[in-house]
Symmetry: C2
Subunit: 120 residues, 2 copies
DNA sequence: CTGTATCCGCTCCGATACTG
DNA sequence: CAGTATCGGAGCGGATACAG
């Protein structure tokens, strides 16, 4: 399918970290502290149970996130970053920094775009 | 809209570079050489005219890509990276490297046993 | 050569309800 | 507490045809 090796690399990485909430989930878990399901939910205002579950499952399948179930009542599940997941740290850090630096510019761009929407 | 500043940074960056072909377009133009529309098309096997146009327009609006029209017959349009776009270089490089390192693992995870290491 | 214009399927994601 | 199931809308991207 993918003949272009350069494309493979970008697609591979981005498929792993792209998703409406994935970057933030990874970012939160990269802080080091394991987090419970509802703790993540509180740290991600607006996320639905469904999306949190789905994204955590995907990250688990990728080997980025480790899921530990404590057999208790009520249930307790902790999510933490894996060694493999930690290798994403420089990627996330670079993305985070670029965003921080260029957020202002993006705001301007969006304002221009918005004001030009009159020509519909 | 986005209450979480950390989220803003990730979303801001990823919105800029995410898209089915955007990373590769940026990567190609980061090589330095201005490229014509059809040159890009040839370098991106499988892309449609529509998507190439749309992605280029978005990148242009973001200030990542510069579009120069030469008033000729037949038409000639060259796309090149802007100074601002060059600031994405470390981001793209980091993503590219992580992908290159972890492509093999991803193949195993996805149970794709093509083992076609030739495209590395 | 460098685009636009339509149509349309498919995936992502939200909302909501239900469960061990 | 930590999920699963189902429905449905919105938007991305592909296929195709047309145009300056």
């Amino acid at each position: 399918m993918q003949k272009n090796p350069n494309k493979c690399q970008f697609v591979g990485t981005l498929d792993t970290i792209v998703g409406k909430w994935k970057p933030l989930i990874i970012y939160l878990l990269l802080q080091g502290e394991p987090l419970r399901f509802n703790e993540l939910r509180r740290l991600l205002p607006g996320i639905t149970q469904r999306m949190l579950t789905l994204h955590l499952r995907e990250l688990e399948e990728e080997g980025i996130v480790k899921r530990v179930i404590y057999p208790q009542v009520p249930p307790k599940v902790e999510y933490s970053i894996t060694e493999y997941g930690m290798s994403l740290s420089p990627v996330m850090e670079t993305i985070h920094q670029w965003g921080a630096i260029h957020v202002e510019r993006k705001k301007l761009t969006n304002q221009i775009t918005t004001s030009n929407s009159a020509d519909l």
